[in-house]
Amino acid sequence: MDEEEHLHRFGTPLQPLEKDVVPAKKPVGIEDQIVKDENGKRRFHGAFTGGFSAGFWNTVGSLEGWTPQTFKSSRAEKATPRAQLKPEDFMDNEDLGEFGIAPQGIRTRDEFAKEDEQEQRSGQRRRKLMQPELGVGPIPGVPVLEQLLRPVRDKVAVRILKSMGWKPGQGVGPRQTRKEKRQATARNTREQYLLDHYGAEGLPEQTESNGEDSNSEEEDDEDITFAPDDFEPIFYTPKENRFGMSYSGLSRDPILSKSSSSSAKAMQHINLFGQLEEQAKNKQLSIRGQAFGVGAFEEEDEDIYARDDMTRYDFSLADKKPKQKKQQHVQQRHVIDGFSEDKSGAALQKPYAIDLPRDFQARNWLQRKSRFAPMDKERAKKLETATEYKRSGLGRHDFNPDQRAQLLGEEKKEEKPNEEQPKRNPFKDRGKSLLDRINARTEGFTKGGIITESGEEKQTELTKEVKESNAAIQEKAALKTKDLAPATSSSGAFKPFLADEAKQLRYEKYVASKLTDDTEITELLASMQPVTLSLWDREMEKKEFIQAAKIYRPLDGLMNDRFISEGNVQAEKVKEQQKTPEERKIVMERIKTMWKPASLLCKRYNIAEPFGGAMLEPEKELKTKPKISVFDYLETSINTKANFQTPSIIPKHIEKPKPKVVEPPALPPAPPPVTNDPEKPPSKEEPFKFTFVPKTPLEQAVDESRDKPISEKVDLFKCIFDDSDEEETVDQPPEDPAQDKLAALQVALGLPSMSTASAAAHNVLRNTSPPRGIFAALFKPKEEQAPKEPPPPKFAPIEGNKLKIAYKSREERLRNDKELAMAEVPPEDIYGPKLPEAFPQKPVAPEDRTEASIDAKLQQLWHEHAPKKRKVEKWVEKKSISSSEDSDDSSSADSSSSDSSGGKAKRSSKLKKSHKSSSSKKSKKSKLKSKKKSKKAEKSKHKSKKKKSKH
C-alpha cells in the first residue's frame, strides 16, 4: 500500500490481461512486413518508391500492358485530335499520389502561398539562408514580422502604375472619350495588323475618314471617359545596317535555336529548356528534349543544323570572362544600382541619313485595299507599258487591208475596177506556166513592191523594210523547205522518203514513170537502186513505193469511186448546156465486165454459179469488203499478212545455188538468187506444167536447146524474138509482148527441171521465170554494167532492140489507156487472188499471165484444168479468160478503152455467149416487134436467132 502511496501514477493503466486470452502473436518483423497499395496489391517499398511502378503487376496500366494506342475513326465516332499529352498521362496513380513523383493535392495558389511553402514546392531554397532560423530569435515560433510582411511579386513599375490608378488590363495614358477611344482602337488594330504583315516601314499615313463617320452617333456623352486600350506600341527599331528596307539577312543562328535574336546564344547548342521555359509560361507544358529523342543504344546525334564556327574551337586558355566582367563593372559604374546598362548600343548609333531622290514619293505599293480598287496611277502606267504587247499583239493585225495588200504585192483594186486588167500583170499572164506565175508572185512578195496598174513596181519606205524582213524570212523558209521545193514543182508535195534523199529521188522517178506492172516497177527500180542494197531492201522499197504512191492519191485512187469533183460536174454541165439539143443526142455505150455473183446470191436466185463458181473475183477484192474504214487503207501497208514474207526465208533459199539453170540473156546473169526467188512458192499451177509437152516448133526448139550453153541458143532466142511480133501484139494488146516472150522463154528453159516430177522440180521450175521483184532489181544494174557472159554479136543487138521496142510500145499503150482498169489494179490484185492460208508467199501474177499467152493449146489445157481446181486455179481461170477476151476485160473499167481489137472482141463475145446457158426458159412474149422501129426489129431478129441457136 505504502509503496503504492509513494507512487504517482500517470496515465491510464492497461486493462489487465485476462487469463484465458491467448497472448497476441509475435509482432511481425520489419523484414516481414508487406506494403500494400490501396487496392490491396503488394507494392515494393523503400528504394523502389520513386520509380514508375510499372502498372498492372509491373505491366503498364492494363492487362495488355503497354499496347500502343490504335487509331480508330468511324463515321459515327470521329477520332478526336489527340489531346496534348501531359506527363501525367504517362504516370501511374502512385506517381500522382502523395509519395509519387508528381504528388497532387489541394494547395494554396502561388499568390497566396506562404513563402516557404512556395519555395518548398518549387524546390528552391534560395532564400533560406537569408531567413532567420526558427527559434533562433527571442520569440519562439514563426516570427510575427514574417507573417505580416508578405513578399510582393509585382514589379516596381507595376506598383507605381497601380498607384497611379492603373489597373491590369488597361492601357496607359490619359483617359479618353468614347469617340477617341474608338478611333484609337481602330488605329491600333490597323497599325498592329500592318506591323505584323509588313514590318515597321510599311505604315501608311493615317486616314482620318473612318473616325469621322462615327462622330455623329456618339456626340452625346463627352463626359464619360474610358481608360485607353492596352496595346503594344509599335516598336520602331532604328536601322542598324545598310540592308534594304525590312531586310534581315540570313540569321546566323542555328535553325533549331529558337531565339534567333539573342545573339549571345547564337553558337550554343540547342537550348533544351528554353522552349520548356517559354511554354511553361503559357501553362502548356510539353516535355521535349534529347532524352526523348535518342534511344538508349544510339549515339547522340550532333545538331546537324548547327553551323560550325571557329568560335567553337576557340580554346584559348586565357579566359575572356573575367575581362568582360571587368568591363561590366566599369560600365556599370555610371548606372544606378539595380539597373543595368543596355548593351545593344543601338541607341547610341546615329541613324543613317539616306539621300532620297528629289521626286521620291513614299508610297506603299501594297496599299490597295482590294484588287478591284483603282490602281495607283503611276503603277497603272508602268504596268500598262510593261504589258503592252499583250494588248496590242505582235502587230500582225495592225495592218489595214491596203497595207496588207501592199505587203503581198496585190493589186490595188479600188481605182478603176472596171478597167481591163493590165496585160503585163504577171498574175494574169496566161502564156506563162503556173510555175512562172507563182514565181512572179513570190517575187513580188519578196520585193515588197506594189505592182501598179501599169505593171511597175513602186518602192516605198515601208516596203523597203518589209523587203528586208521578207528576204530573211524567205531565206529561212527556203532552208527549211529546201527539200520540199522541187516536189511542189514536179510531183506534188508528198515526200514520204525525205529522210533518204536518194530514195526519195527514186520514188519520184517511180511516180513519174507511172508504172503499174509489177515487173516493170522492179526493173525500173533496179536500174536506180544502188548495188549495195540487199534483196530484201529492194523488195521492201518497191512495196513502199507502191504503197506510198497509192496513199498519196487519196482522191485519185482510193476515194475516186466515192466522189466526183464538183468542178468536173459543173464543167460537164456547162458543156452539156452549151450543146444544142441535136448534139445532145444520147449515145448509148455498153461496157461489159466480169462480175462474180456471190455464191449465196446464186443460190437464192436458184442459178448455178457461173463457171461453176470458179470465177475470179473481178478486181474488187478490196471493194467487196463490207465495211470500209480508214484503217483498211492503212492496213494495206507493206507488212500486211497477205504479202508479208518473213525475211528468214530468203537466206535459206539463197544459200543453195543452182548453177545449172541457164539464164536468158535478157536477164541478169547471176543464177543463184534467181533460182531461189522467194516470191515464188511452188504453187498449184505446177501440176499442169508437168503435163507440158512441147508441141509448137518453138517449144521444141526450146526443148532442144535446153541443155546447150547460152551462147548456142542464139537461134532459139532469135526465133522467139523474131517471129511473133505482129501476132502476139494483135492477140493480146494489153500484155507486154516482151514480157510474154521472156516468160515464154523462161518457161521453155525451165522445162527440163519441170519434167522431173519431184518436189525439187517445183523449185527449179520456179527458177526459170524471169527474175522479178528484188531479183530483177538486183541484177539489172549488173547486167547493164558488165555483161559477164559476152552475148554473141549477132544476138545482142537484136535482143536489145527488140526488147527496147517492145518495152516502149508497152509503155505507150499504158500511157494511152492510163485510166484502164488494168492500170489501176492495186498491187494486191497484181499478185493475184487470195492464196490458201498455208501459202504465205504470194503468187506471181504477171508471170502466169505471160505464160498463158505462150500457146493457145496451153490455154486450152488450162481451161480444162481450171474449173476443177481451187483457189489458185481460179486465178488461172481469170487469166485465161482475160487473155481470150482481153479487149473486153481490159476496157471494162473505163469507156475510153482501146478499140484496137475489134475482131478479137467479137470473137470473145461469141465465146462468152457460148458460155451462157440459155437463160429464159419460159417463152418470151412477142414483143410487139413488128410495130417497132426497123432498128428494133433487126435486133429482135438477132435475138430470135440467138435463141434458136441456144435451143
Binding site: V587, M588, E589, I591, R604, K912
Partner: protein, 308 residues
C-alpha cells in the same frame, strides 16, 4: 394491142404521213404501200382507200418499199441507212439491215423474195439474204459512181440505175456486169413485163426505152417536165404504154412505140410534183403520189369488170 383508154381518177387518199415519198403496189396489185416522210409506211386498199396498217420503225424518211411475193412481208428503205423487213400482219419489224453508208434510196425483192436488193446514196447496191438471219449483205456492188436510184431484178439479173447515167445489169447467170451508159442521170428504172426492155426516166425530162439485150436506145419519150426532181416512170401492164410523172402536177401516158403522148393526166391544178407512181401489175391502173396524197387512176371499164 388494146386501144388506149383514158385513165380516170378513182380514189384520192390523203395519206396523212407527210409528203408521200413513194407509192407501190404489192405483188398482185390488190394493196398498195405508201412511204411517208414521217418515217412510216402505210398499207392501203387502193380501191376503197382504207388504211390497213401502219408500219413505224424507221428513223428517217422512208424512200421505198416493196412487198414480198406472198404479200406477207414488206421490205422498206429509208434515209436512216437501214432497210427494214416487216411482217405485214403484225406490223413488227422482223429484221433491220444496216450496211449502207448513206441513205437507202430503193429496195426490191427478187422473184421468190429470198433476196432483198437495195441501192443507196453510197453508190452501192447490196443484196441481202432474207431467208437467213444474216445481217450483213450477201454481196455489195459498188461499181456505180453516183447515187443508186432504182434497183430492179428478175430471174437472173439485177438492174441498178444510177445518177451517174448508167444502168448496170448484173447478170448472175453469166457472171457479167453490163454497164449501159445513157449519159443522163437516171431517176427511175422500170422493167417491161417481158423483161426485154427497160424504161429509164432520165433527169433531162426524157423517158428512154432501153434494150436489155443490146443496150441500145430504142426510143425516147418527151413531153413531161422533170426538172431536178426524182420523177418516176413506169410501164403499164400491157407493155404498151409508158407513164411518167411530171414536176408540174401532171402525169403523162405515152405510147410505147409511137412515143406520142396519149394522155396528159391533170392530177392537180395547184402544182405539186407527181414524183412517184406505180403501175398495177395486171390491170390498167396506176398510183400516183403527189405531196401528201395518193391518187388511184384507172380505166373505168376494167374496174367495173373487176367489181362486177
Amino acid at each position: 394491142m388494146p386501144e388506149f383508154e383514158n385513165f380516170n381518177l378513182k380514189t384520192t387518199i390523203d395519206c396523212k404521213q407527210g409528203a408521200v415519198r413513194a407509192v407501190r403496189y404489192n405483188v398482185d396489185g390488190s394493196y398498195c404501200l405508201s412511204c411517208g416522210s414521217d418515217k412510216k409506211i402505210k398499207l392501203w386498199n387502193p380501191v376503197s382507200g382504207i388504211l390497213l396498217k401502219t408500219y413505224g420503225g424507221h428513223a428517217d424518211e422512208v424512200t421505198d418499199a416493196a412487198g414480198s411475193c406472198d404479200s406477207s412481208y414488206i421490205v422498206s428503205a429509208s434515209l436512216d441507212k437501214s432497210i427494214i423487213y416487216w411482217d405485214v400482219s403484225t406490223g413488227a419489224p422482223v429484221r433491220r439491215l444496216r450496211g449502207h453508208a448513206g441513205g437507202v434510196r430503193c429496195v426490191c425483192f427478187n422473184e421468190d423474195s429470198s433476196v432483198a436488193i437495195s441501192g443507196g446514196r453510197d453508190n452501192a447496191v447490196m443484196c441481202w439474204d432474207i431467208r437467213t438471219r444474216r445481217l450483213d449483205p450477201v454481196q455489195v456492188m459498188k461499181e456505180a459512181r453516183d447515187c443508186i436510184t432504182t434497183v430492179a431484178t428478175n430471174e437472173n439479173r439485177i438492174y441498178a440505175a444510177s445518177l451517174d447515167g448508167c444502168v448496170r445489169t448484173y447478170d448472175i447467170r453469166v457472171g457479167e456486169l453490163t454497164c449501159d451508159k445513157v449519159g443522163e442521170p437516171i431517176t427511175y428504172l422500170a422493167q417491161t413485163r417481158d423483161e426485154q426492155c427497160l424504161v429509164a426516166g432520165c433527169q433531162d425530162s426524157v423517158v428512154r426505152l432501153l434494150d436489155c439485150e443490146t443496150g441500145g436506145l430504142l426510143s425516147e419519150y418527151k413531153g413531161h417536165c422533170g426538172d431536178d426532181y426524182h420523177i418516176e416512170c413506169g410501164i403499164l401492164a400491157n407493155d404498151a404504154h409508158i407513164v411518167t410523172g411530171s414536176s408540174n402536177g401532171d402525169a403523162f401516158v405515152y405510147d410505147l412505140l409511137e412515143t406520142k403522148v396519149l394522155q396528159r393526166i391533170r392530177i392537180s391544178d395547184n402544182g405539186g410534183v407527181v414524183h412517184s407512181l406505180a403501175t398495177h401489175p395486171k390491170r390498167q391502173e396506176m398510183l400516183f403520189a403527189r405531196r401528201r396524197d395518193m391518187y388511184v387512176f384507172s380505166t373505168d371499164l376494167e374496174i367495173e369488170e373487176e367489181q362486177l
